[in-house]
Symmetry: C2
Subunit: 290 residues, 2 copies
């Protein structure tokens, strides 16, 4: 059984799997790349995690996630920057442990508004400022910081960066090999400017990650679990994928789905469903593939 050669399974899609089981389920579904999360890595410790990743033979496509850098008080801000430096080091170690073609990409979720604070512009400015404080460390570690614009429904409490254009505005002062953006279908599919901004991101060499999933309706009660499997929702994924590829993105394509039904499946069944829908909808195999 072999999945699309550019498919990467983001660990969040099989959230309950400990690291070893996630690596196994991914490989057994014929998938050759994985997007890791810090929590299951921390559960076994970084040294053990790098061993398991190396033994798996899988590529590592990204580490989720750093960020949460909108705090306005000094102590919380300093702590967040330190935490991000640790995340940068983990990203480098895990990508190094992964198979050839791994990407040292740390996904950054901006964070929401501080409590009782309505100054959205101020929070957005602090995100850019914080990235400025992290760039040197990231560059030294060979890690690309990937700013993830989040769906506007999360602007208040999770991610104040709301569009791909805004993420690129934030990234632009920094070197393109160190600060890029995430193109996550769920977060950006609705944006009237999305195709222009994908082209802009590609022209700058800043597409650090492309993640696919789908937007399902009705919106589930827990809006954090509102994602569906590709083909189950309303996103024109073939067109989005075409735009990302046309913009020059050559990396792995992650499937990242927060969905209770998917989480309730046996891990390998979930991985196989994802691989099948990825081929059918998100990224049909090229005719020239073996």
């Amino acid at each position: 059984m072999s999945a699309h050669p550019r498919l990467s399974l983001n660990q969040a899609s099989i959230k309950y799997a400990p690291l070893q089981e996630a690596l196994t389920a991914t490989a057994e579904a014929g998938i050759t790349s994985i997007g890791l999360w810090r929590e299951p890595v921390a559960d076994v410790g970084l040294p053990k995690a790098t061993e398991l990743v190396a033994a798996s033979g899988l590529r590592v496509s990204s580490l989720c996630r750093g960020g949460f850098i909108t705090a306005s008080d000094h102590a919380a801000r300093t702590a967040a920057l330190d935490e991000n430096r640790r995340a940068i080091d983990e990203t480098a170690a895990l990508a190094h442990a992964g198979a050839e073609g791994s990407a040292a990409v740390l996904v950054l979720v901006a964070g929401g508004l501080p409590d009782r604070d309505t100054d959205l512009r101020g929070a957005r400015e602090r995100v850019q400022d914080a990235i400025g404080h992290l760039v040197e460390h990231a560059h030294g570690a060979g890690v690309m910081l990937a700013v993830e614009p989040m769906h506007p429904m999360y602007a208040a409490d999770r991610g104040v960066i709301s569009t791909l254009g805004q993420a690129l505005d934030i990234a632009e002062p920094f070197p393109a090999n160190t600060v890029g953006v995430v193109v996550d279908a769920f977060h950006i599919w609705w944006d009237p400017e999305v195709f222009d901004q994908i082209a802009r991101a590609g022209a700058q060499g800043r597409i650090a990650s492309y993640q696919v999933n789908d937007w399902i309706t009705p919106l589930p009660a827990d809006s954090l679990l509102a994602r569906g499997v590709m083909g189950h929702g309303h996103i024109d994924l073939p067109r989005l994928t075409q735009a990302v590829l046309a913009a020059g993105y050559t990396g792995d394509v992650e499937v990242e789905i927060f969905n209770q039904q998917l989480w309730d499946m046996p891990y390998q069944q979930a991985a196989s469903l994802i691989a099948a829908q990825f081929d059918a909808i998100a990224m049909p195999k090229p005719n020239t593939a073996p």
Copy 2:
């Protein structure tokens, strides 16, 4: 008891009130203007509704709502256009029945994607095309069509127009006295371009309605009821109001809140709470007010 002279109570904020009770609750809270909905008007019939409105002495600030013009099949599309022509006529009649300063504004909600259709761009183009079919009728009736950009979380199933900039792009080919836009805080507060687009809308004379409310977290299970009373959430309303006024908007300011707790209050208590929070947060009274 007297509320802010520019406050209008949108009927959706006291959703369960029949028309007469809504008019009474509004007036008894010292509010001098009301935003009407078609359903409670239809419940008593348009002739009776105009009588009740005239007897109330209130201004009418808008009628909600027309639109739902994204269908791709011919019959559904024709039916939607006919329905919108009826809504235009109702808008004219109700504004005429209202007190001096009433506004003949019909709020248009675009509608979502047709079933199993992922062509968002096509749906958006059909909205503009439909408005083109309605403009002459609206102009003849003296009614302003107000395109409402909706929060992107509704893009799939309710409103494919997602930003103020996009609503203005759609309105731009048409006369500014017939096609305008709605600035609804809940829908647009997160937009990095919102202040530029408010200025653009004002410069074109296209702000047909300004609606206030708040974005509360956590997002309630029913995302349609995710609005809070001004001051209970994360929107910087003073800044937004300042921008709308600076852009030259001189009309009534509607409070439109879909919120189960508000709906469960006695109507006049809800209206009074709204009037108080409007003064405190959304639009402090000018010092020159009596």
